[in-house]
């Protein structure tokens, strides 16, 4: 048996042509039963008296949406072949592709884990952390409901350390690459002896067997029955919440019966766990800044005409004059791109996103226009925030809570302006404001 192959494939479901081992090595392990093969796409025929229909499923990402399959005349298998468009960025899976799964003894880590964290928990953090640890030890699913800026990543450390010491394989998954990039160096510091892989869209190759895997939920398409313990951070974030295949990916990546734990500031109602902890205070103990509502009647028409509404212009000028960094959230990419003036702007497809956020943090630019892409994960000291068109459907209560959560995160500047500019108050705006006021009271 090839140990490197075992380490590579343990817990994975991997496209044969992307496996970095020679053909003969893979063939030998298929023959010896170490590797189990699955076809890329499975087609189920359903027929009754009147019609016959084919239902397809991608065996990697479990996509079943007919519109995301494409059929073509394949020059490799010389048949009419079908491939999955949903997970195509990870290498195309088609009817004639082979997916490899490791079918024998799993690889194991050999490290003696070290816990190098010297931080201090506040009393509520301590309590939540202990509750989570106890759930993890009993393998019961747990939800940590913590307000933005409560210091929720640290809460995971004791539970992760205990699991690693027990010889378990642990995964921390989050919907967004930015979050994984932020977590990776922190985890490397806290668990200096542990083999950690950080997996996201353009991640470099990482070798050997990782006892701790940080991954975007997308990357979990490529795992199957891999983890004893799974934590999902920001479980309500786009696209995880909206994409059923990502939720299935998390379940698929966990070993059978392994409990899945969630951490979020804005849990959706569909999130059901056995246990739960609630953390309503920020780590610095100050109240959350409460959003204020301010009418900006007809802002869409004015922006269309190339004019910044008076109140908004005044708000911008105040921030620039007082050298306060600011973010302005806009409802669509079109509004963002057509926004008058030359304020820098970012959206999901923007290549310089990270660079511009950094420039704002270093005060090289006064402020930034953004879509909801920056609703979570970014921390900018003393930032003030305005939402333009807060009544629009894209700004759900959870998006509004996350955006409000950008303000007042540092102990030095625990306050700051968060304003919802609107053309009529929506229920979601009320819900967000109520939730934040509720946390402050409790």
């Amino acid at each position: 048996m090839n140990e490197q192959l075992q380490q590579f494939l343990t817990g994975r479901i991997w496209l044969r042509e992307h496996t970095p081992f020679p053909r003969e090595v893979i063939d030998a392990h298929i023959d010896s039963g170490h590797i189990h093969l699955k076809p890329g796409i499975t087609t189920y025929s359903k027929s009754n008296l009147f019609w016959q229909s084919n239902k397809r499923v991608c065996n990697r990402c479990h996509n079943m949406k007919p519109s995301l399959f494409q059929t073509f005349n394949c020059a490799r298998c010389n048949k009419v072949c079908t491939y999955c468009r949903h997970c195509i960025r990870m290498g195309r899976v088609s009817s004639c592709s082979q997916l490899l799964l490791w079918d024998k003894q799993h690889a194991r880590g050999a490290n003696v884990h070290v816990f190098a964290w010297s931080g201090q928990f506040t009393a509520p953090q301590q309590k939540a952390s202990e509750e989570l640890l106890s759930s993890v030890e009993q393998n019961q699913s747990h939800l940590v409901h913590a307000v933005c800026g409560a210091g929720k990543t640290e809460l995971l450390f004791p539970a992760i350390f205990a699991s690693l010491q027990a010889g378990k394989r642990v995964c921390v998954a989050a919907p967004r690459t930015d979050v994984i990039l932020e977590l990776f160096p922190r985890f490397q510091k806290v668990f200096p002896n542990t083999a950690i892989h950080a997996l996201y869209g353009s991640a470099p190759d990482q070798h050997g067997f990782a006892e701790l895997v940080l991954a975007t939920t997308h990357q979990l398409y490529r795992f199957e029955q891999a983890f004893d313990v799974v934590f999902v951070d920001e479980a309500d974030a786009f696209p995880y919440h909206a994409d059923e295949t990502l939720q299935k990916a998390v379940t698929k990546a966990a070993k059978q019966n392994a409990a899945i734990h969630y951490v979020t500031a804005t849990p959706t109602e569909s999130l059901k766990t056995t246990n739960r902890s609630i953390l309503t205070r920020r780590y610095h103990g100050h109240d959350l800044p409460v959003p204020r509502f301010d009418s900006l009647w007809g802002y869409a028409r004015q922006l269309n005409k190339g004019k910044i509404p008076h109140k908004l212009q005044k708000w911008i000028n105040e921030k620039i004059d007082s050298k306060t960094p600011f973010l302005i959230f806009l409802p669509t990419i079109e509004v963002l791109e057509n926004f008058p003036g030359d304020l820098p702007r970012v959206h999901a497809e923007h290549p310089d996103r990270k660079e511009l956020v950094l420039q704002l943090r270093e005060k090289k630019i006064p402020g930034l226009l953004t879509t909801t892409i920056l609703e979570r994960g970014v921390t900018i000291e003393n930032v003030h925030v305005a939402i333009v068109g807060a009544e629009q459907p894209i700004f759900t209560s959870s998006a509004l809570i996350q955006i409000s959560g950008r303000v007042g995160r540092s102990a030095q500047y625990p306050n700051g302006d968060i304003v919802f500019f609107h053309h009529g108050i929506s229920r979601e705006m009320d819900k967000a404001q109520d939730a934040i006021e509720g946390w402050n009271r409790s």
Partner: protein, 207 residues
């Protein structure tokens, strides 16, 4: 409709135009289509003056420039093998071929490369645009063009061979990208030498 490129829902064109113009269904939203840039440049053949390829090609028409959006498109279409994206330019190609008369001949792939890619990217663009064509050429050399200098490309003889008789009529070569022009000139010369009266070329992209 769901856009093939960005995956977002969008409004398809009013249906009456489709009925009257027999237009193909659109597949891509306006926002994504607008990112492609129409090519304005005219192709000159001065590089080929005084070579055996002088006069082999009568005209070349390229639809788009090679910009960032096109780079991403080609990456997904060719490298990620997303055959579905052949439909993105179907309408534009159909319009382009309407203006020219002749037998459409796609530039072929080497058979070994075809098996690796699993589909012929040039043929699939034509299929999606419902343009009929004849495969009159086969590729005889498999080494990739990209690694060679312009001079080397021109020197390489017999990149293609004809596999059917060529008539004294008009032909339209079609390729995905026109870079140095060597490929198109090679193919055109083979056709002309075999008796073609006129050889025009259309490519999706001016590289």
């Amino acid at each position: 409709m769901t856009c093939l490129i960005c995956g977002n829902p969008y409004q398809s064109m009013a249906t009456w135009t489709k009925i009257f113009l027999y237009e193909l269904d659109s597949s891509t939203c306006i926002r994504c289509l607008e990112k492609f840039e129409i090519s304005q440049s005219t192709i000159d053949f001065t590089d080929f003056l005084g070579t055996p390829y002088e006069g082999a090609v009568d005209s070349v028409y390229c639809l788009y420039t090679y910009n960032e959006a096109m780079r991403e498109y080609l990456h997904q279409y060719k490298f990620l093998q997303d055959v579905a994206l052949a439909k993105v330019f179907a309408r534009k190609l159909q319009q382009a071929f309407h203006t020219k008369e002749g037998i459409v001949v796609p530039i072929p792939m080497h058979p070994e490369k075809l098996v690796l890619r699993t589909f012929a990217q040039v043929d699939e663009l034509l299929n999606a645009a419902q343009i009929s064509y004849q495969q009159l050429l086969i590729k005889t050399k498999s080494e990739t063009q990209g690694k060679k200098s312009k001079k080397e490309r021109l020197k390489t003889t017999n990149l293609f061979e004809t596999i059917q008789t060529i008539e004294a009529t008009n032909y339209i070569l079609f390729d995905d990208i026109y870079t140095t022009g060597a490929t198109i000139h090679h193919a055109a010369k083979i056709l002309k030498d075999a008796g073609a009266k006129r050889v025009d070329a259309i490519t999706l992209i001016k590289g």
